[in-house]
Amino acid sequence: MEFLQQYGFLMATMLQQGLLGLSLYAPLMAGQLSLASPGFYALGGYIAAVILTNPAFAGWRDALGYGIYPLTWLLGAVVCGLLGVVVGVPALRLRGIYLALATIAFVEILRVLALNLSITGGAVGLFGIPQAFGFVDRWQYLWQFLPLLILTLLFFHQLSRSRTGRAFRAIREDELAADAMGVPPTRYKVLAFVIGAVLAGIVGSMSAPFLNTWNAKQGTFDASIAYLAFVLIGGSRSMWGPLLGGALLTALPEVLRGLADWRLVINGLVLVVASLYLPQGIVGSLGRKPKPPIRPSAPPRDEGPVGPPYTPETL
């Protein structure tokens, strides 16, 4: 119990950050490097914080009781999903580093908007957010994040085996080839982007009561880089990678709290060593290595050509 009291917040944060890592993993399944997750996370949190604290919504809160919390998740998901489509369609015309830059700009726009609007509380942000389902202790938020994580993992598992998942992989490996095979790249790229947006939005709306307060510092460029590190350190080719990376990199500084200032040094060392020696990420290096393809043995010489001779026409 004392363990839960002390480390409950950390455990819930590990799941929360793991989920955010997964929200960056979703577009990456289709080969798209998007750093927009913190923007959607911040937006989802603001939606929850506004509904839970703004006097304009007092009627909703009284009428729905604890039902207001699932409603904030739903609204966070829907709004982020719609915005994901609006942003995704033009942004995903860009590729690689240009897409990453565009999504950083998106995060920055949302941050500056949040700083300047009065409904978001400006630079101070919103505070005094009521606790989800009357939770008292931080560890109780595991009841929120754990089911979401299990659902998300199940979803990703099913997705990767579905037609859509195969289309994502096809685009990731070669977009032109996929297009030629009849896989519409734009539609699937936007879909992958929206899945990430919806997930980040839900996590955000769950996190506003969890952190007690919400402000523009939640969705920043720093967060983008942190989530990217989760995916790179954990491994970008499996859904377990971002989850493990998020949980590990969140836990590390806290577990090493006893080392005072040295904890950040060790944290940095882990990042450097992991990216140098585990280029596939932790999960990537654990998995079975695919056997190197066996070089086909050269055909015996004296048999001569079997098929038509190799000429420019046959190629």
Binding site: T13, G122, A123, G128, F133, D137, R257
Partner: protein
């Protein structure tokens, strides 16, 4: 259903915990928690708080601690974010078993972590949380840092005293900094209340380095007074660029610029800037003069505001513990009882601190009598001092 049973088990376990903790008496030395930013960019402020608190521990224990029982400060780094503050508070409350907490550094962190301490019934004193609504978080939350609304207007009155012909005013603020945006509201209100014209309001970010747009807008309005709400680096650069581009009038800097960390940034251009202060080493009370003398002897410079406020936080805890100790020896108390009694005593007492005489209202808001205005005098490019105006 799951929620209900979870709350149920929790209550049972919490009861168990109370029984277990109930058997435990307070250890000597008495542990007091300090949760401020020792890392991240907020550490610029947090480090001064660490120095102030460490100095308080050494100074107070050197004078007998709590009527003979020494105190021990337990430091937990909050970093600059909300999650870090919650982690630090959680560790101090459950693992380090502190009687109370001084912290966190930022108001936004306070909004996040203070509710945790309040629910655990652990008294908290905010050393530098100035946003509206902090003491109202809960009955266990108080602060020694005066809200911005009280500190800022003095500087405007002082500027008018220096130059009564001031008519047009430009106000600039860092829009991504919670403290600066609150402070600028107060400044703008004061300007209007004093019957001055608010010619322009310009925004910038604490991370900006180039202020050409803002400076051009200010110069275009031909103002007599510029008021800046920002932090050391951006405020310093803005001051420098205003002067370099030919602004001649008075400049007021907000409380965020009340630090000598600004001197290396604007160098000789810092000269003459009027600063609103919640603390001044020139404050004449005996409590402050003893503090300033001992601090200067050890660190070779007068104490900055954040160090003085952190020191005051520790001192208020110790003064309240001394009163409790006279009724019943501190080491005879159990932890949960002492935390509740300590919170009650903090709000009741009156304290002679380096900030002057302070006490608290029923919410835990600090009642501070003296505020200060200083003007920067630069000796050379790198060193300068705050000259106390009154």
């Amino acid at each position: 259903m799951r929620r209900l049973s979870a709350v149920h088990t929790l209550n049972l376990l919490a009861l168990n915990l109370l029984v277990v903790a109930g058997a435990q008496k307070i250890a000597s030395p008495v542990p007091l928690g300090i949760a401020v930013a020792q890392t991240s960019n907020t550490a610029l402020l947090g480090q001064e708080q660490v120095i102030g608190a460490k100095f308080a521990e050494q100074f107070i224990n050197g004078r007998g601690g709590i009527n003979g029982t020494p105190i021990k400060l337990v430091f937990q780094d909050t970093g600059g974010d909300e999650a870090g503050a919650i982690n630090a508070f959680q560790t101090l409350i459950s693992k380090d078993q502190v009687v109370g907490i001084v912290g966190p550094t930022l108001s936004q962190q306070a909004f996040s972590a203070d509710p945790i301490a309040d629910r655990a019934k652990v008294p908290v004193l905010g050393p530098s949380n100035t946003a509206k609504g902090i003491p109202q978080i809960g009955e266990f939350i108080a602060r020694v840092s005066a809200p911005v609304a009280v500190v800022a207007p003095n500087a405007v009155r002082q500027a008018l005293k220096i130059d009564p012909k001031i008519k047009k005013v430009a106000v600039l603020y860092a829009q991504n900094d919670a403290f600066s945006t609150s402070e600028t509201g107060t400044f703008q209100q004061t300007v209007k209340d004093q019957g001055l014209t608010l010619a322009t309001v310009q925004k910038f970010q604490t991370t900006d380095n180039d202020f050409t747009t803002q400076v051009t807008a200010v110069l275009g309005e031909n103002v007599d007074l510029v008021i800046i709400s920002g932090l050391a680096n951006d405020g310093g650069n803005l001051t420098k660029q205003l002067r370099q581009l030919g602004y001649k009038g008075l400049i007021i800097g907000g409380n965020g610029m009340n630090t000598s960390n600004m001197f290396p940034v604007c160098q000789k251009f810092c000269d003459g800037v009027i600063i609103a202060q919640a603390y001044s080493p020139a404050q004449p009370s005996a409590a402050n003069q003893v503090f300033v003398k001992a601090y200067t002897a050890q660190y070779k410079k007068p104490p900055p505001q954040f160090a003085a406020q952190a020191y005051t936080g520790v001192q208020v805890f110790v003064d309240a513990l001394r009163v409790i100790d006279r009724k019943k020896k501190i080491t005879e108390w159990t932890l949960p009882e002492l935390r509740i009694e300590l919170n009650r005593q903090i709000l009741l007492g009156k304290y002679k601190t380096p900030l002057g005489d302070i006490s608290f209202d029923k919410d835990g808001e600090v009642i501070q009598k003296d505020f200060y205005v200083a003007q920067i005098k630069m000796k050379d490019a790198k060193t300068g001092s705050f000259v106390y105006l009154k």
